[in-house]
Each structure stands twice: as structure tokens, then as C-alpha cells.
């Protein structure tokens, strides 16, 4: 089966700093792949290249076997890649429907904003994620952390993403809201969506992910099945930057060469 996303030898440097160094990784439909590593390991830069924020310096991105280059975030979105950034990327002064449809507004036949329909559609998708979410007219500024997260997730889901990138989706949330996010990840996985998940919480990662790709200093240390390793093995990989000695670690970085 063709991978949903295949990254081949991707590099990105800022001046002399190799932020992403010849990275390989893959993502299949219905799979959750965790991206792990210390701050500065290159995870964020990698996903920014994947979501069209930075152009890659070297390497290829294949989406369903087709080679893609993203000049802007909207081009990545057109290829079916939706990103939930750690900052959530919401306009604080606008309400939930405006944020949900930002850049992809629904228009009336007269080319004006169809605010009523956007509000209606937003209510549908948001209340499926979070039934307690009612007030659609409130600016995002006045919302709780969980509500903001809901808006950001709803924005990614509404447009039928096939590939979802989630950068620290649970970092600022309370326990109930974390469960909401985990539940959403499970459901999306069941629907055949592929997810790259960045998280620092090892418990979350082991609960949600099928595989993890560990990075250090911009390069991939190794990619392993969660089922084949323990949390301590993964922690050792993150800290020492060495391949795991655990059994079944076949999926090394050269797999696709």
C-alpha cells in the first residue's frame, strides 16, 4: 500500500544550523505516528515544512505517492494536510465560525460572506466534538483553553483532511479536555486518517501512537513500533540519541532508500 505521506531525505537549514537533517519518515492511513525529541530536535521545523510554512532545502515529500512541494500553507491544505499548530493559530478577535472558515470562507451567490451558513456549519462540527460548546458569537479571546482547542481541531476536520498534524494538542488542557482530544484521535484513526502527533507526554504517546519517530539534533534517531518497546527504551533514544537495542527494531531510517 502506498504511504499517505512519505518524507525522503528532507533537510532544512537556517544559516549554518541544520534544523532538519536528511529525515525519512512515513505515515499510513489510519495510523498515528508520534514525533518525539527534545526541544530543538527538529520536530517543529519538520512539521512546518510539511504544512507549507517553510520550503524544504533538500529532499522530497510524497503524498499518496505523488511528489509535492508546498509554497504556502494553503498549498499544503489543498493536498489534504491540515495542521493544528501548538499556538492554535486562531485570530483572537474573531468568533469561532470566522476562525473555522478563515481562508476558506463560505460565500453567498453575490460573493459576500455567508455568515449564517458558516455559523450553522460551525455549530454542527463543533458540537460533535464538544457538546457543551454553544456560544458561537464569542470572540476566541474570551474562550477557555479547551474551547480554543476544539475550534482548532474543528477547523482541521471540517475540510475532510486525510493527513493531520497535531503539535502538542494537549499541552494546555485539563484532564477532561485531554480525554476529548484522545477520543477524537481514536475516532479519526478509525476513519482512516493518518496523524502525526507531537507530544512530550510519554503516556499520551504510548496510548495514542502506533509508531514513534525519535529525532535528535535535526536527524532521525530511529523509528520503532510502540508495541515493540517500553517507555524507558524510547526515553533512552531521546536522551542518548542511539537506536534502541530492543527486539523488533527493523524500521530504521534507511528503510526507504
Amino acid at each position: 500500500m502506498t504511504a499517505l505521506v512519505e518524507v525522503r531525505g528532507l533537510s532544512k537549514h537556517f544559516g549554518g544550523l541544520m534544523a532538519v537533517d536528511r529525515v525519512h519518515c512515513t505515515l499510513h492511513a489510519g495510523e498515528v505516528v508520534g514525533l518525539l525529541g527534545h526541544n530543538g530536535a527538529g520536530k517543529s521545523t519538520l512539521i512546518k515544512v510539511l504544512s507549507g510554512v517553510y520550503p524544504a532545502d533538500e529532499g522530497e515529500i510524497l503524498v499518496r505517492g505523488e511528489q509535492k512541494t508546498f509554497e504556502s500553507p494553503s498549498e499544503a491544505r489543498e493536498a489534504g494536510i491540515e495542521t493544528i499548530h501548538q499556538t492554535l493559530a486562531l485570530a483572537e478577535n474573531l468568533d469561532a465560525p470566522s476562525n473555522l472558515f478563515l481562508g476558506r470562507e463560505l460565500l453567498t451567490p453575490w460573493r459576500t460572506l455567508d455568515t449564517d451558513r458558516m455559523e450553522h456549519e460551525a455549530l454542527q462540527v463543533i458540537s460533535r466534538l464538544n457538546p457543551n460548546f454553544r456560544d458561537m458569537k464569542k470572540p476566541v479571546r474570551d474562550m477557555s483553553g479547551g474551547q480554543r482547542q476544539t475550534v482548532a481541531i474543528a477547523r482541521a476536520l471540517y475540510f475532510n483532511a486525510k493527513i493531520l498534524i497535531m503539535d502538542e494538542p494537549c499541552a494546555a488542557l485539563g484532564p477532561a479536555e485531554v480525554r476529548m482530544v484522545q477520543e477524537t484521535i481514536r475516532r479519526l484513526k478509525a476513519e482512516g486518517i493518518g496523524i502525526f502527533l507531537i507530544s512530550h507526554d510519554m503516556g499520551d504517546v504510548f496510548e495514542a501512537c502506533d509508531r514513534v519517530t525519535v529525532m535528535k539534533n535535526g536527524a532521525v534517531v530511529d523509528t520503532v513500533r510502540v508495541a515493540d518497546v517500553t517507555q524507558d527504551d524510547v526515553l533512552a533514544m531521546i536522551i542518548l540519541g542511539e537506536k534502541s537495542k530492543a527486539r523488533g527494531t527493523q524500521m530504521n531510517t534507511d528503510e526507504h532508500r
Binding site: G52, L90, G103, E105
Partner: protein, 401 residues
């Protein structure tokens, strides 16, 4: 007090602005023995306000998007000279349609100035403050060069009417018709909005508050028409019975521009993107908005509005001089900020900017009637600007606490 206002559906900022304006008018009327409130003075005030208000409409958009344009006065001077040059040197003032061609040329010139500043700001990442400060200097110099420092006059007689002077108004009949139409529109909008909110079960302001708001708006509109119609037209030919002047052409231009820009800000994709960019530039970029193009377009819009302001000013002066629009940037920015636009970005309205412009021009006009010297007026307007920004700071801090 604020919570109560909000519950009743009044925007607290806009309401306090209107109340402040009313207070200032009462104070100025008392200080000038009522001269301030005579129809003649109010007609002139309405014309004076237009130039500032037109540019404030563009400045609102820029400030909402976290930009600024310090060069609007110089843009006025340059585009005004281009307009006068096309009429006087280019085509001949009384050549048919020369005045239309000159307006076209002025608009194109304004948009080119805006494109220049927008390109440096959006595509080369320079701060708007620096780019437009340079523009402030350069465009003033360019205005001088158009006719080597000379004044170009006279202009087309048709063109002169645009300034609101002789034959520059639409008379009482059309004015009343327009006033009544505007009231009908205000009422229908209020009814329509209420129905739509009921259909979606959205929260509604109490009925009495809506009625008060609508009545006040209609009273202001009809009151304005009554005042400008009470000003006998000094320009009518001898032997013809003097009628009231009615609404001045500049006011009509302002109304048209303000209506279009309000619709654009609330009802179009572009307007939504401007507000999103102002609220969070990074989010706008990550959402795939064409942020650079939005900023470029805003500067071009500002240039076009400066050109329209130049049309009115050159028409009133019946000449093109390179010295028009001096200190206009201060009045425009002050009007915009008084009108509730915030330098923090993402906040501001067109009606607010227009009332802000009316407020600042009222002060200026009233101080002239009171024989306050221009040096003292400058000091006062400067203090008003600081006061407005300070109030915005206090307000923003309270909102985010």
C-alpha cells in the same frame, strides 16, 4: 454602566464617543454664543469633516491590520497636483471630460504611491512607520516637482462643484428624499437583523434599546438634512428665490465611500482577512491567507482615498498647490484612534472613524470661531491625540484582564 450598556446592545465605545461629541457641541455652542450651531457653520463643518473622514476610513483598515500611514497628507498634495496638472497643463480645464480624466489620473497616482509603500512594507518587511515616514518626505517633494512649486489654477467649473462650494450641493428636495431613504434603510436593517437573530435563536437586545438606537440614528440623519437645508444657498443667481443648500457633494462622496467600505469590512472575504491579520498575523499566515497581498491592497486603498480627499480639497481651493494636506496625517490618525481603532490591531470601525473625524473637526472649527491661534490649536489637537491613545490603552487593558 458598561455591562448595562452592553446588555442593551449598545457598543460602549461608540456610545461614549457620541456622548462626548454631544458634550463638545454644547460646550462650543456656549463658548461661541451659538455661532457654532448656526446652519452656515454646520454646513461648513460637514464639508471640512469630509476630507479627514474619507482618509480616516482608509486609516481604520490600516490600523486594524497593525499598519500606519504617515504620508497621507503628502499623498494628498501629490495627487492634488496631478489632478490640477491634468486639467490646467494637460488637457485644458474646460475641455469636456477633462475633469473626469484628471480624477482618474489622481486615483491612479494615489494607488501607485500606495503600491510603492505597500510593496516595501509587505514584500520587503520594512516597518510601515519607516516606509511611510519616507513617503511623507518624498511625496511632498514630488508634489513640488509636478509644477515646479507653482500653483495651478483655475480648474474646471464642473469640477469646482465637487468641493461643496457654489452649486456644490443637491438642494432641499433631493436632500430630504435622501434623508428619508436613509431612515427607511436604518429601520429595515434593524427589523431584518432582529428577524434573522430570532430565526437562529440568537441572543437579542431588549426591544426598547433597539427602538432608542434606531430613533436616535434617524433623528441625527433628519436633523442633519434639516440643518443643511436651513442654510440659504448664497450661490443662487440674482432674482431667483434663495433656497436651502442641502447636502454638500463631499458629504455624498463620504457617505458612498463609507457605505462601500463598511460592507467590505463586514461582508467580504477581504474585510475578514484584514481583521484576522490584525488580530493575529501569524494565524492569518498559517491559515493560508494572502497576507502580503492584503497589506499591499490596504496601502493602495489608502492612496486612492487620499486622492479623493485631494479632489475635494483642490476643488474647494479651485487650484492645485503643493502645500495642501499639511498635518492631515495627524488629524486622520487622531480621528481614527478617537473612533475606537486600536494600535494593538484587529479593532476598529468605519462609523467610529467618521464620528472621530467629526469630533476633531468640531474642536478645530470651534476653536477657530473662538479666535484661538493656530499654534494653540496644534497643541490642543496633539493633546487630544495622546488622550485618545491613552484611553484606548486603559480600555484594552481592562478588556484583557
Amino acid at each position: 454602566m458598561r455591562a448595562w450598556l452592553e446588555k442593551a446592545g449598545f457598543d460602549p465605545r461608540f456610545t461614549s464617543l457620541v456622548l462626548a461629541l454631544a458634550l463638545i457641541w454644547v460646550a462650543l455652542a456656549l463658548a461661541t454664543d451659538g455661532i457654532f450651531l448656526t446652519p452656515r457653520n454646520l454646513y461648513n463643518l460637514s464639508i471640512q469633516t469630509c476630507v479627514t473622514a474619507l482618509m480616516a476610513c482608509g486609516m481604520v483598515y490600516l490600523i486594524v491590520a497593525r499598519q500606519i500611514d504617515l504620508s497621507v497628507g503628502s499623498q494628498m498634495a501629490f495627487t492634488g497636483m496631478v489632478i490640477a496638472w491634468v486639467q490646467v497643463e494637460g488637457l485644458g480645464a474646460e475641455t469636456p471630460f477633462a475633469w473626469i480624466a484628471s480624477i482618474g489620473a489622481g486615483l491612479v497616482a494615489g494607488m501607485l504611491l500606495g503600491a510603492f509603500q505597500g510593496w516595501w512594507t509587505a514584500y520587503r518587511g520594512l516597518p510601515a512607520f519607516v516606509v511611510t515616514l519616507a513617503g511623507y518626505l518624498m511625496f511632498r517633494g514630488a508634489a513640488f516637482l509636478v509644477a515646479d512649486g507653482q500653483t495651478l489654477a483655475p480648474l474646471s467649473t464642473t469640477f469646482q462643484r465637487i468641493g461643496g462650494g457654489v452649486h456644490g450641493s443637491i438642494g432641499p428636495q433631493w436632500s430630504w428624499l435622501l434623508g428619508l431613504l436613509a431612515c427607511a434603510w436604518v429601520i429595515s436593517q434593524a427589523v431584518y437583523a432582529r428577524r434573522s437573530r430570532r430565526r437562529y435563536n440568537a441572543a437579542m437586545a431588549p426591544m426598547w434599546a433597539e427602538v432608542v438606537k434606531t430613533l436616535v440614528t434617524c433623528a441625527a440623519l433628519l436633523g442633519f438634512v434639516a440643518v443643511v437645508c436651513a442654510y440659504p444657498d448664497p450661490g443662487v443667481d440674482e432674482g431667483v428665490a434663495a433656497t436651502g443648500k442641502g447636502i454638500g457633494v463631499p458629504v455624498l462622496i463620504l457617505i458612498a465611500v463609507a457605505a462601500v467600505l463598511t460592507i467590505v469590512s463586514q461582508r467580504t472575504r477581504f474585510g475578514r482577512h484584514v481583521f484576522a491579520y490584525g488580530g493575529n498575523p501569524e494565524a492569518a499566515f498559517l491559515s493560508g491567507l494572502p497576507t502580503k497581498r492584503v497589506v499591499l491592497t490596504l496601502f493602495m486603498l489608502m492612496g486612492a482615498l487620499a486622492a479623493i480627499a485631494a479632489v475635494i480639497t483642490t476643488s474647494r481651493l479651485n487650484s492645485g498647490t503643493h502645500s495642501i494636506g499639511q498635518m492631515a496625517e495627524l488629524y486622520v490618525i487622531a480621528a481614527t484612534v478617537i473612533g475606537g481603532a486600536s494600535f494593538a490591531g484587529g479593532v476598529g470601525t468605519i462609523p467610529g472613524a467618521i464620528v472621530g473625524a467629526l469630533l476633531i473637526q468640531s474642536l478645530d472649527n470651534g476653536m477657530v470661531l473662538m479666535d484661538v491661534s493656530s499654534a494653540k490649536r496644534q497643541i490642543f489637537i496633539g493633546l487630544i491625540l495622546i488622550g485618545a491613545v491613552w484611553m484606548d490603552n486603559v480600555y484594552t487593558r481592562r478588556m484583557t484582564r
